[in-house]
């Protein structure tokens, strides 16, 4: 019975038990005293009347703190605006040509997808050619995060295009281009961060030309061509190496002071 008294005092007891308490109280001085003690603890507080209008004003005046997920999305969307549309268009056109060139003997996508992705990554990653570079350097977002955001955008874009191409009737195998694409892009990213876009793209073109030669004119030669063919493959080693290179690039991108030639008359 005494268990019901707090709720009875507060008026929240269900009707059945309430009737029971009311029947019991007149005969029990202990419970009446107990009830009085609980009733002393209840109170009627009157809340402020115009609170909601204040809440709506506060809601309009104070910005919502974005969640982590929304921050990532915002960063990607903002960085996308800094990527030249011509770069995206050119990547799509060249990849399209690669798909068209695919024949029974040679797979155009396999030859073209890695270098398209690498050139794209090199073009967006180098601080030397970035029109918004000085502005970005003043924002609180770290250059490492910016580099990773751009890598995600461009590599993700080329990867999506290439994956879409594998759905075409010619059906190029994913394994023929995925590893080389990741490795070449990561290497280009690191070179772009360290030495600039031109050096990075030049190196990527050179390396990939050697790979194409090793696969065509020297397709049956042993020694160096065989080693080159083995390097540009899709396997855990190449994918791990690509991740390591991308991580190295991200670390290098955060170094201070940032390298930009001719930023001062001394350089």
């Amino acid at each position: 019975m005494r268990d019901f008294l707090p709720e009875y005092a507060a008026g929240s007891l269900d009707p059945e038990n309430k009737a029971q308490v009311e029947a019991h109280l007149p005969h029990c001085p202990t419970c009446r005293a107990d009830l009085a003690a609980w009733q002393a603890l209840t109170s009627n507080e009157v809340p402020p009347a115009d609170l909601i209008s204040q809440v709506l004003i506060r809601s309009a005046l104070t910005p919502v703190t974005p969640t982590q997920r929304r921050r990532v999305f915002t960063l990607l969307a903002k960085e996308l605006r800094l990527v030249r549309p011509s770069l995206l268009a050119a990547s799509a056109i060249v990849l399209g040509i690669g798909v068209l060139l695919t024949t029974a003997q040679a797979d155009g996508l396999t030859l073209i997808a890695p270098i398209v992705a690498a050139v794209g990554v090199g073009a967006v990653a180098g601080p030397h050619r970035d029109p918004a570079y000085e502005l970005i350097a003043t924002t609180p977002t770290s250059p490492r995060l910016i580099i990773l955001a751009r890598l995600t955008l461009i590599f993700g874009y080329d990867l999506t295009l290439a994956l879409a191409a594998t759905a075409l009737p010619a059906r190029p195998l994913i394994t023929t281009w995925l590893g080389p694409m990741a490795l070449l892009s990561a290497l280009t990213l690191l070179l772009a961060v360290l030495a600039g876009t031109e050096v990075a793209i030049g190196a990527a073109l050179l390396l990939w030309s050697l790979r194409v030669l090793a696969g065509s004119a020297f397709a049956h030669a042993a020694g160096l061509p065989a080693l080159i063919r083995a390097t540009w493959a899709t396997n855990p080693t190449t994918l791990t190496a690509a991740l390591a290179l991308a991580a190295a690039a991200a670390i290098a991108a955060g170094r201070e002071p940032l390298r930009r030639p001719r930023a001062t008359h001394l350089a």
Partner: protein, 182 residues
């Protein structure tokens, strides 16, 4: 329409940005929420601030109410979190209740309130530990069933009951010693 469905419908409207629905929701629940918060907060001004924080949080996150719990449980849960944010309450102890002994002598606050004609009970309640005040606020002031109070705090029903009884015993001790001192 049962009140429970009514509250759920109101929260859905709030989620769609209907400020009228927010006002309705406030009119329905503010007395209980405010009663609870005024037991947690040190003064009326702070309780009003937390109530405002609560309604702002409801306004912004009504879309996260999934309807799996009662609307009042959800509202009190929001209020409880806002109170913790503003008051940095010590987290309530685990259900294995360790005995707390509040200082039974009247402090300067009680003496000031008593001098100003405030209720000695209200002053004594403020000296209780947080989890005791919370149980009193939910069950006796807001008038929630003990089962719902237990769901909001996240402890078994028996724990809420024992907190209530401990709180009352502590209060009786405080008030008795106060009378002796006077």
């Amino acid at each position: 329409m049962r009140p429970r469905d009514d509250d759920t419908a109101l929260l859905r409207s709030v989620a769609r940005g209907d400020s009228q629905a927010l006002t309705h929701l406030y009119d329905r629940h503010a007395p209980k929420l405010f009663g609870y918060l005024s037991r947690l907060a040190p003064d009326r001004m702070t309780a009003e601030e937390i109530l405002q924080d609560t309604m702002l949080a409801v306004w912004r996150s009504a879309h996260t109410y999934a309807g799996s719990s009662r609307a009042t449980t959800w509202l009190f849960g929001v209020a409880r979190r806002q109170a913790h944010n503003r008051l940095r309450l010590t987290p309530p102890p685990l259900p294995a209740e360790h005995q707390e002994h509040p200082d039974p002598t009247p402090g300067p606050e009680e003496l000031a309130i008593a001098a100003a004609g405030g209720t000695p009970v209200a002053a004594a309640v403020r000296r209780l530990p947080d989890h005791h005040r919370e149980a009193i606020g939910l069950v006796l002031v807001a008038g929630l069933p003990i089962a719902e109070a237990a769901e909001i705090i996240g402890v078994p029903v028996g724990t809420v009951k024992s907190r209530l009884h401990h709180a009352r015993a502590a209060l009786a001790g405080m008030l008795a010693s106060q009378e002796v001192a006077e």
